[in-house]
């Protein structure tokens, strides 16, 4: 197996990051959550400020429910951004030439990293906004909220989001590599979106009631196995640690196993991605990507 050329990965990531930063749609997606946040402003000011609702009691639960929702929201914003990058390469017919000096793995990882950078900027902008908001409106509710979430759980949740996207993005890229013209871009995002939507709903239900969990029961073990498969665990595990029913070391083991499985799957996905890039025949991209004909032919 060839070693990955990380220098090329970084160059591609920076290129795609800079290009996307220039685009109008990125700013829309950057400001979109802020607009939603502002719409809750009234409730925050009236109810929380006057302490008619005790946020401290529910902070962990609210945060637990929001993890799968955050993952889904990011999917909506960035999965199509990734598919667009690949569609641009394919429809401008430059991917074959590009492949002659940048390997499929480097291309795939570079584009995913580029999108990760965008997400990081989104987090930073949103955090800055919340800080400014807190001081400007003198609303301690956000500080109260964060004070009531264990910092190591918060750190876990953030790492968890990025692990979740390694596989969600890889899948999207795999489908997108079969695009022959840009009108098919949206089709390439469907499988991943459907998965993310389903997993999000399950994650939300799960976090409402997670008290059944016991690490060393038979259900606990079955859960451990199921959640080790990425990105299933990333949607459900955070609620268990935030509700203090799963020890954090077990959560980290699940995360690590998911990361390892993701990177193994990444390798085989990179092969299909390469085959997709070389494929110029117009066809149903989902069927084409799922059927393993590249094994016979490649």
């Amino acid at each position: 197996m060839n070693k990955i050329n990380y220098k090329q990965v970084f160059i591609i990531a920076m290129y795609e990051f800079k290009n996307s930063c220039k685009s109008f749609s990125y700013f829309t997606s950057l400001l979109f959550p802020i607009v939603i946040f502002c719409s809750f402003d009234k409730y925050i000011n009236n109810d929380f400020k006057n302490k008619t609702i005790n946020i401290t009691k529910y902070a962990s639960q609210i945060f637990a429910i929001s993890i799968p929702i955050i993952i889904f929201a990011i999917s909506i914003l960035y999965i199509s951004a990734l598919a667009n990058l690949i569609a641009r390469d394919k429809s401008s017919k430059m991917s074959e030439m590009f492949l002659s000096f940048v390997g499929a793995k480097e291309q795939l990882l570079g584009k995913i990293m580029g999108i990760y950078f965008l997400i990081v900027i989104q987090f930073i902008v949103f955090t800055l906004f919340v800080i400014v908001y807190t001081f400007y409106t003198n609303t301690p509710v956000v500080i109260d909220f964060i004070n009531n979430i264990n910092l190591s759980n918060l750190a876990y949740s953030i790492i968890n989001i990025f692990v979740s996207f390694l596989l969600l993005f890889t899948w999207t890229a795999e489908f997108a590599s079969y695009i022959t013209d840009s009108s098919q871009t949206i089709v390439a995002t469907i499988p991943t979106m459907l998965f993310a939507a389903m997993a999000c709903i399950q994650g939300v239900f799960f976090s409402v009631n997670s008290n059944w969990f016991e690490a060393f029961s038979i259900y606990g073990i079955i859960f451990f196995l199921a959640a080790s498969f990425p990105p299933v665990g990333t949607f459900v595990v955070p609620s268990l640690i935030l509700n203090n029913v799963m020890p954090i070391w077990e959560a980290y083991i699940i995360l690590l196993i998911q990361l390892i499985i993701s990177s193994i799957l990444f390798n085989s996905a990179a092969k299909r991605y390469k085959y997709g890039l070389l494929n110029h025949k117009k066809s149903n991209i989902i069927l084409k990507a799922m059927n393993d004909e590249f094994k016979k032919k490649g």
Partner: protein, 290 residues
């Protein structure tokens, strides 16, 4: 040096390339000739390690870094990008320094006569100019091997000459070059070796001189001979084409027929044109492709 040793490629049961062998040294140009679907692009894809041969070996000399400049049949660049940004991006991925790459870009834009400025957007360029920019992307980092898939398609004769010049310059710098074409015009000017493929099989192979020799000077043109119609039944002449009143092109069974014919014709007096030559690559190609 690169060597293909009995390389075959099957797609399922379909045999796209079979038993292809050749060697290519520094500074040599090989042209792959063949109709659409002959297996030229598949050969390139194996050389680029996009796909693995079903059988046989592709051997690279150990001291090569395996840098390849590749211009595929499917041509294109990012339409919304400027020439400069596009080329500098590629250069960075090749590990080339920005300032050096920019100097190279300007040099090559000048040499290939690209109409436009480095800051122009790719989508504003004509097809031929965009193709030249893509060629610059292949040439500017001085690759060890240059692979050009149908490089002359879409170029007018003036630009084709510029391309030939650029290829010859790369050759003189020691680059190994392989290009494919189904158009014979430029093959003769460029190639050291020719391989002709038909349905994946090698039907002809060697340097141009020996290929011509193999066929001999079996083509004859005569002009200004008033008894030309008498040649219709002359022994050893095939496929004779008359034109005007006193001209004809014909094929000879072998070179020696020319000698007897010349002796006979000159008995009738002065004939301004008697041109006995090798068949054109074009006609060899058509003959072999059958």
């Amino acid at each position: 040096m690169i060597e293909f040793k009995n390389v075959s490629k099957n797609f399922g049961n379909f045999n796209a390339v079979s038993n292809l062998s050749f060697k290519l040294n520094k500074g040599e140009i090989l042209s792959l000739i063949g109709q659409n679907g002959a297996g030229k692009s598949t050969t390139f894809h194996m050389l680029l390690d996009f796909i693995k041969p079903t059988k046989g070996q592709i051997i690279w000399n150990k001291n090569l870094k395996r840098t390849i400049g590749y211009m595929p049949e499917e041509r294109g660049l990012y339409p919304k990008e400027s020439i400069k940004n596009q080329i500098l991006y590629f250069a960075a991925l090749h590990g080339m320094h920005k300032s050096k790459a920019y100097v190279e870009l300007k040099k090559w834009m000048n040499k290939l006569n690209v109409v436009g400025e480095p800051n122009d957007h790719i989508e504003s360029l004509s097809k031929g100019n965009a193709q030249k920019v893509q060629l610059i992307a292949c040439l500017m980092f001085s690759p060890e091997l240059l692979i050009l898939d149908e490089p002359f398609s879409g170029l007018d004769p003036v630009n084709a000459d510029l391309l030939i010049k650029a290829i010859l310059e790369a050759k003189n710098n020691g680059t190994m070059i392989i290009f494919s074409t189904h158009n014979m015009e430029n093959v003769e000017k460029l190639s050291d070796y020719i391989i002709m493929l038909s349905h994946g099989k090698t039907v002809l192979k060697g340097d141009i001189h020996s290929i011509y020799k193999q066929f001999g000077r079996t083509r004859l043109s005569i002009e200004g001979y008033k008894n030309i119609k008498l040649l219709e039944d002359f022994p050893g002449i095939k496929n004779i084409d008359f034109y005007k009143d006193d001209c004809a092109n014909m094929e000879l069974e072998n070179e020696n027929v020319g000698k007897t014919l010349f002796n006979k014709i000159s008995e009738d007096g002065y004939v301004p044109v008697f041109d006995q030559h090798y068949p054109s690559l074009d006609s060899i190609f058509k003959l072999k492709a059958k």
